[in-house]
């Protein structure tokens, strides 16, 4: 891998890097700068940015530390998708570029912007603290160092993949909930919470879970799967999120939260009708009082605009409901069996 040089030879492509620029000291709003350089096959986005910084514009600012896909510093959006610049091949991105020959480089979303491609990671660290993203060992400090906990390969495998997380914040940047609500726990923190909670050495399961089922917690996720799709370490983040939810409902008896009630109401409706009975969903999730206090004005507006969902007796069962019910029962039996064998 030789660096791109000024000589334009065959096997190189002219690539325009459209780089997001913002220096809070002088700029009132962000803008883009174009830098066009010849890039050969095998060069990563980070190496291209290094080249631009060293040869064209020393003020282009981005983080990079290990440059080997291990430390997680260089998370940024390349053509709209959050990833590590150091492991992203320029030619691969180019093949999918909407504008031929142009690669747009922007900072991660959902974290406060500091300068150019650099965002503030502190909010993420604060959330790790808030949700106790650590093992609080069941062993007293004075006893430590004397003997090992005996842990099966099976238990190790339960959290092995989750410990691959390098906190690059690609998932944070892609999360659709965070775009609407910056207080949302965020996928990375859910993943870490899950990793701690399946560790038999940890003593904080209950406390952590109690925090996770509150507002802005695990129930806010809408299963868009963007976190998992963008994960640079291919971690099944959604499995972790589902794991926490199942844990909350099944084993720890936290059926009293709006999130779990919402999920149960969904299940009931689907089993009965094959679709949702939307009119009563808020009541079943959050109770009558809450619904009246919070949703009455909206309900009135909806009635005025004739946009109300049909009342429950009028909701017709979906087509083929009988076959569907059989499938549904078979599926839920399966899940129950799985749970039993797990325990």
């Amino acid at each position: 891998m030789t660096l791109p040089t000024d000589q334009h030879t065959e096997g190189k492509k002219d690539v325009t890097f459209r780089v997001f620029r913002f220096n809070p000291q002088v700029d009132s709003k962000p803008y883009f700068d174009d830098y066009t350089i010849p890039v050969e096959k095998g060069i990563t986005v980070l190496r291209s940015l290094n080249y631009i910084k060293e040869h064209i514009d020393g003020s282009v600012s981005f983080r990079a530390f290990c440059q080997a896909g291990i430390c997680g510093s260089c998370g940024m959006r390349v053509n709209g998708l959050s990833q590590l610049a150091c492991t992203t091949q320029v030619w691969d991105v180019l093949a999918k570029s909407r504008e031929p020959g142009v690669i747009k480089v922007e900072p991660l979303r959902n974290l406060p912007l500091i300068k150019d491609l650099i965002v503030d990671m502190d909010p993420l660290v604060d959330k790790m603290k808030h949700y106790s993203n650590w093992v609080a060992s069941t062993m007293p400090e004075a006893e430590m160092g004397k003997k090992e906990f005996l842990i099966s390969e099976e238990e190790f495998l339960r959290y092995d993949k989750a410990t691959d997380c390098i906190l690059c914040a690609s998932c944070v940047s892609e999360c659709s909930i965070l775009r609407a609500n910056k207080e949302y726990v965020s996928p990375a923190v859910l993943l870490k919470s899950f990793r701690m909670s399946v560790d038999s050495r940890d003593s904080l399961h209950e406390q952590r879970l109690a925090e996770l089922v509150k507002d802005h917690g695990v129930w806010d996720c809408t299963h868009c799967y963007r976190c998992q799709e963008s994960c640079v370490k291919s971690i099944p983040i959604m499995d972790a999120i589902h794991g926490i939810r199942e844990d909350a409902i099944e084993s720890r008896g936290m059926k009293d939260t709006s999130g779990s009630k919402h999920a149960e109401a969904f299940m009931m409706d689907i089993e009965k009708k094959g679709k949702l009975i939307e009119a009563t969903l808020p009541i079943r999730t959050n109770g009558v009082v809450w619904t009246l206090q919070n949703l009455l004005p909206m309900a009135v507006k909806m009635i005025m605009k004739r946009r109300t969902p049909p009342p429950p007796p009028l909701v017709k069962s979906a087509k083929g409901i009988k076959i569907f019910r059989l499938m549904f029962r078979e599926m839920t039996e399966h899940v129950k069996q799985d749970h039993k064998s797990h325990q």
Partner: protein, 567 residues
């Protein structure tokens, strides 16, 4: 700012362990950890292989004593034997402690911590978590520090110690977010800033930030550097980038092959083969290349690390990071074809001279981890001993500083000193008279070091290296900082890092030139044998009136007499 009891510079394994231990020792202490990156980014995360400890989980007959002997022999008898004893006897305890606080170790069938063979070790004693051991240790320590409420100053770049007479008043650092130069008055300062092998740049496996900042600061404050000439070359860096393929790949059974398809290690270490000690294996690769048995490519000559016979399952389960890296940076899937490799500068054995309690010669200043030289690695470090070193001595540093902080009265750092520092670092931002480009100077430094102060060294080459470094230091005075803003000026940070590398490069080259023998990682073609009569001693490099001045220090011996080192 209110004076701190302890300021820890660096948030890798050593720094975080120090912080954790200091808080455990005395919860009333006011402790700060400064790091130029978020601590979880630190280079500890790159350590793939594992950490040695004679737990005897795998080989029931393993003992601390054998670990001590392997380490001393591996060091080519330059390690201080009392320090090695501390390292190895603390090892089982600290690995268990890490396990107890949540580190996800891979497991054996009997559910104990798994261990695997590693270079230069008589028994399989390397504890690991697949090939992400350092990463998981770092995560665990960071999590525990968050739990304990350690006060972090993230993205602060350490500039200098403030010194009055023989004592430090604390640290001066730049807040990257604001560009402000801030004072951290402190009773004690612990340096835990990692190694300096990145000065070899493209021929180094290190992170871009492993620029020896702590060592350079200590050196400028008059603290001696010990054994700086000993830089370990790892045998298997990726051909194009220098990035590392862990020794674990050979531990799992990988072969090294030359272009004739020959397992050439049979010639150099017939018994240990690929698992010989690093210095020996690196020299073997370099010799194969020099004698024309390497492969040719535009990116330079290289050899093969062949894992194909291990099978897809083992590679996927035990060496997933290696596979990912060779695919990302070489375009090679090790399941299908051999990985192109060549030696790469990997680890700095030398560093800030400390005693076994991590104290330096300056009162209230301590150092631990790769930035320190106790010395436990001597002339050559064994694989799996560096993670162990940062853990064991990080903890000792935390405890020692916590116990000794009470002895010192806090000093202050004057505004005038801060202003002076600020003017100093911003000098290069003014265009007038500043035209040298940072990138060029850095490339040239890496090149001259790799060519003249590399694996094979020789008098005239070293003289050339020393002259080159001197010239680069002269040119550095005219370096230009192109980013003139205060906020997150990474350009300024790069230039300051280069300054640190240049200062330290001089001590590496000077030590290498002075040491007229071959020992461990230091190989002089003009002095090919170990010379115990004249050179069984540490070198000390001290900055006196702007010049590197060499001194020496005896090696602490113990139970083990000098022997010839063969494998």
């Amino acid at each position: 700012m209110k004076p701190f009891d302890i300021v820890i510079v660096g948030g890798g394994g050593a720094g975080l362990y120090a912080a954790m231990e200091a808080m455990k020792t005395n919860t009333a202490l006011n402790i700060a950890v400064l790091s130029k990156v978020y601590p979880n980014r630190s280079h500890t995360s790159a350590a793939q292989g594992g950490a040695n400890a004679a737990l005897a989980n795998k080989a029931k007959d393993d003992t601390v004593e054998m670990h001590i002997f392997d380490t001393i022999k591996g060091s080519d008898y330059l390690a201080d034997q009392d320090a090695v004893e501390v390292l190895c006897s603390e090892a089982p305890k600290i690995i268990r402690e890490l396990e107890n606080i949540g580190t996800p170790w891979s497991r054996m069938e009997d559910n104990t911590i798994a261990q695997r063979p590693f270079g230069g070790a008589g028994r399989p004693r390397c504890c690991y978590c697949s090939d992400k051991t350092g990463h998981t240790i770092l995560q665990t320590l960071y999590e525990q520090c968050l739990k304990k409420g350690v006060k972090f100053f993230n993205e602060y770049f350490a500039l200098n110690l403030s010194v009055s007479g023989s004592r430090s008043n604390g640290l001066i650092a730049m807040n990257m977010k604001s560009g402000k130069v801030e004072a951290f008055p402190a009773k004690t300062v612990i340096f835990a800033t990692g190694g300096y092998a990145k000065m070899y740049w493209n021929r180094s496996s290190n992170a871009a930030g492993n620029t020896g900042d702590g060592q350079a600061i200590a050196y400028r404050a008059g603290i001696p550097m010990k054994d700086m000439e000993f830089v370990q070359f790892h045998p298997t860096g990726l051909r194009k980038s220098g990035l590392l393929v862990t020794e674990g790949a050979r531990g799992e059974g990988g072969y090294l092959l030359n272009k004739d398809g020959e397992r050439f290690m049979a010639r150099y270490a017939p018994e240990k083969m690929e698992l010989g000690p690093r210095d020996l294996v690196s020299r073997s690769l370099e010799t194969e290349i020099l004698e024309g048995r390497g492969f040719d490519s535009p990116a330079g000559k290289y050899l093969h690390l062949d894992l194909t016979h291990l099978g897809a399952d083992l590679i996927k389960s035990r060496l997933p990071q290696i596979r990912e890296m060779s695919m990302n940076f070489e375009g090679v899937d090790p399941i299908e074809e051999p990985i192109p490799v060549r030696p790469t500068a990997h680890y700095s054995m030398g560093g800030i001279d400390t005693d076994n309690q991590t104290r330096t010669v300056m009162e209230g200043v301590y150092a631990a981890g790769e930035c320190a030289c106790v010395s436990v690695h001597g002339a050559n470090r064994l694989g799996g001993n560096s993670l162990l070193d940062i853990l064991v001595f990080g903890r000792i540093a935390g405890r020692t500083a916590a116990e000794e902080a009470g002895k010192f009265t806090p000093n202050t750092i004057s505004e005038a000193e801060l202003t002076e520092q600020l003017q100093d670092i911003r000098g290069g931002m003014h265009a007038a008279g500043h035209y040298e480009r940072y990138g060029e100077l850095r490339e040239e430094l890496g090149q001259t070091l790799a060519l003249n102060v590399g694996i094979y060294r020789e008098s005239s080459l070293l003289q050339k290296g020393i002259a080159d470094i001197e010239e680069l230091k002269e040119r550095f005075k005219k370096v230009r900082i192109f980013d003139t803003s205060d906020v997150f000026n990474t350009n300024l940070m790069q230039v300051l890092e280069l300054k640190n590398m240049l200062d330290l490069a001089e001590t590496v080259a000077a030590g290498a030139y002075a040491r007229q023998e071959s020992r461990g990682s230091h190989t002089r073609t003009d002095f090919p044998v170990r010379d115990d009569a004249n050179w069984h001693k540490h070198t000390l490099a001290t900055l006196v009136k702007g010049k590197v001045t060499l001194g020496e220090k005896p090696v602490t011996m113990g139970r083990y007499e000098l022997q010839e080192r063969t494998y």
